[in-house]
């Protein structure tokens, strides 16, 4: 008996080591991939930025394929467009998402929750091109009818993106509200606070770092979203003068032009990708900082 057990465990060990090795290989390849991407984007984009100079970030003229001049490379309106679209979507999505999270975590009866949670998860599974298509055939004509203009606009991208980031905000915020120690809530209720007072003054503040992290992750999704924005934003390279004017974002512009881009134009798109990468890295860094402070 004892011999058998020993044998078996030795076999298990050999198996275990192999599996460990395979897992290590997977982990290394993932890390290698991220460094390859960083290296690739920067090696293509950085020389271009150094050559184009600060004008790349500050100029408003974007004519990369213009065969009639030397090409002007200014991504300022596109960068501003990306930020307007992202922060607007966050502005709409955050109150909706947090309210929904509070409802799910504190108020909703289990039966309602059983319906709502899968629905919200399904929202996360909808492909972005479907969001874009929905925006194009429903939201855009509605905006055109109500407010005039093209319909494809800053506002249309806000609406679509705010829906797209809801699942991220809701699920992480719900978790962090649920993670608030029971004693906080019971203490507050025992002191005579109403349910609403408890939520507002105890639960949300205690879960705030998780909520902030969820918003920043949502922001990362919004700024990186390409297809849906491409379809509803109008993609005009100019700083929009109203929320019903068309706008272009870094991601949409790269996707629009990469098929045609050659030479310096291609490098310019990589440089745009680099700018986007830096912005997203900053956001991810902020998310990590915020969630590290999380009270659990």
């Amino acid at each position: 008996m004892a011999v058998r057990t020993l044998k078996r465990s030795r076999i298990k060990d050999a198996k275990g080591t192999t599996i460990e090795l395979i897992l290590l290989l997977c982990a290394v390849s993932a890390v290698a991939a991220i460094f390859l991407i960083i290296w690739f984007i920067f090696s293509e984009g950085l020389p271009f930025v150094l050559e184009a100079g600060p004008q790349f970030l500050t100029s408003s003229i974007w004519l990369p394929t213009d065969s009639f001049s030397d090409g002007s490379w200014g991504i300022f309106p596109i960068l501003v467009g990306s930020l307007i679209v992202t922060f607007g979507a966050i502005g709409i999505g955050t109150p909706l998402g947090v309210a929904c999270a509070v409802f799910l975590a504190e108020i909703a009866p289990p039966a309602v929750r059983r319906v709502l949670v899968p629905s919200i998860n399904a929202l996360a599974g909808v492909p972005s091109v479907v969001y874009g298509f929905f925006g194009l055939v429903v939201i855009v004509p509605w905006i055109r009818g109500q407010f005039g203009g093209f319909g494809t606009s800053v506002f249309a991208s806000w609406v679509i993106l705010s829906i797209m980031i809801l699942p991220t905000i809701i699920s992480i915020s719900t978790d962090s509200i649920r993670a608030v120690p029971r004693e906080y809530k019971e203490g507050s209720l025992a002191m005579g606070a109403t349910q609403w007072q408890t939520i507002r003054s105890v639960m949300i503040p205690a879960a705030s770092s998780g909520i902030i992290a969820s918003v920043i992750l949502g922001m990362g999704r919004a700024i990186g979203e390409t297809m849906a924005v491409l379809m509803v934003a109008g993609n005009a390279v100019s700083i929009p003068n109203s929320i019903f004017a068309p706008v272009s974002t870094l991601t949409a512009q790269i996707a629009l032009e990469m098929g045609y881009a050659a030479g310096a134009h291609r490098q310019a798109l990589f440089a745009m990708g680099m700018v986007l990468f830096v912005v997203i890295m900053i956001l991810t860094g902020l998310a990590n900082l915020a969630s590290r402070r999380r009270v659990t």
């Binding site: 213009d66 093209f150 993609n235 068309p246 032009e257």
Partner: protein, 283 residues
């Protein structure tokens, strides 16, 4: 960010597959054709017929845009590049042996919503609309409403054609950017105040093509060059075409291929040359 990995992996695999297929294009009955999305649907029709006539051959037609197609030919990843514009001097400088051959003529129709009362525009009015000097339909005989200009993206051969022929090299101002013929047609069909431009072969009843300087973008008007906004479609090869590529181009230029293109809404290159020996402005 996590989503980047699978996308990159797929991209690498596809690129590898395309590269291999491209390398093999001159042997084993495989032909790789890539380039302009305006030419692509017509090339697919040609490819189907060609495959039926030559059993065992496979013609792969890919989009990507004129520039990408020309680059693919230059790099040797495709045997034939499709282009909806003439090859640029800068491209000849990079790949000196590129050989374009015109396969058909295509009009670029200025399309508006069927409910728009405007039926005629002059070339100058069209230019002013796209450069932002005319912004209201009542300046060109329409109702009092802002003109919603819809452009193609930078690098599009159709946009390039309009910029060369209509804008005479000037720059587009304002308007939104959509990335395909279908998207522009849909947008114009939904918006009473929109104007856009698409290949005249792609005009259907959901939109209305306006006359330019009195000429409608009809077959005869494009063939006799009285409809001015037109460009040639090209097949581009690296050096003289050989093997399957040469067969495919001969098929395209022959009676059978030209009849297919004509049925598809394009103007046969022989009709156009018979009507007038002046070459189109894109050249």
């Amino acid at each position: 960010m996590k989503r980047l990995f699978p996308i990159l992996l797929v991209a690498v695999l596809v690129a590898a597959a395309v590269f291999e297929a491209g390398c093999a294009s001159n042997s084993a009955g495989k032909l790789q054709v890539a380039g302009s999305t305006s030419v692509q649907p017509h090339a697919e029709v040609l490819a189907r017929a060609f495959q039926q006539n030559n059993s065992g051959t496979r013609v792969y037609v890919q989009g990507g845009g004129s520039s990408a197609g020309i680059q693919a030919v230059g790099e040797g990843t495709a045997a034939i590049g499709m282009s909806s514009r003439a090859v640029k001097a800068s491209e000849i400088a990079t790949y000196p042996t590129l050989k374009p051959v015109a396969i058909a003529v295509d009009g670029i129709a200025m399309i508006v919503n069927p409910k728009n009362p405007v039926n005629n525009l002059t070339m100058n009015q069209t230019r002013d609309i796209f450069t932002g000097n005319i912004t209201n339909w009542n300046q060109v005989g329409g109702s009092d409403a802002t003109i919603n200009v819809i452009n193609r993206e930078q690098g599009s051969g159709t946009r390039d054609g309009v910029q060369t022929i209509v804008l005479k090299g000037g720059n587009f101002a304002g308007g939104i950017v959509l990335s395909s013929t279908g998207a522009i047609r849909t947008a114009v069909s939904q918006d009473v105040n929109a104007i856009g431009y698409i290949s005249s072969a792609e005009v259907d009843s959901s939109v209305k093509a306006v006359n330019i300087d009195g000429a409608a973008p009809t077959y005869d008007n494009i063939a006799n060059r009285s409809y001015k906004i037109q460009r040639d479609f090209f097949f581009v090869t690296k050096g003289d075409p050989s093997g399957l590529a040469s067969q495919f181009i001969n098929f395209t230029l022959g009676a059978g291929g030209q009849a297919l293109l004509k049925a598809d809404g394009l103007v046969s290159i022989s009709d156009a040359q018979n009507a007038s020996m002046t070459t189109s402005a894109t050249k």
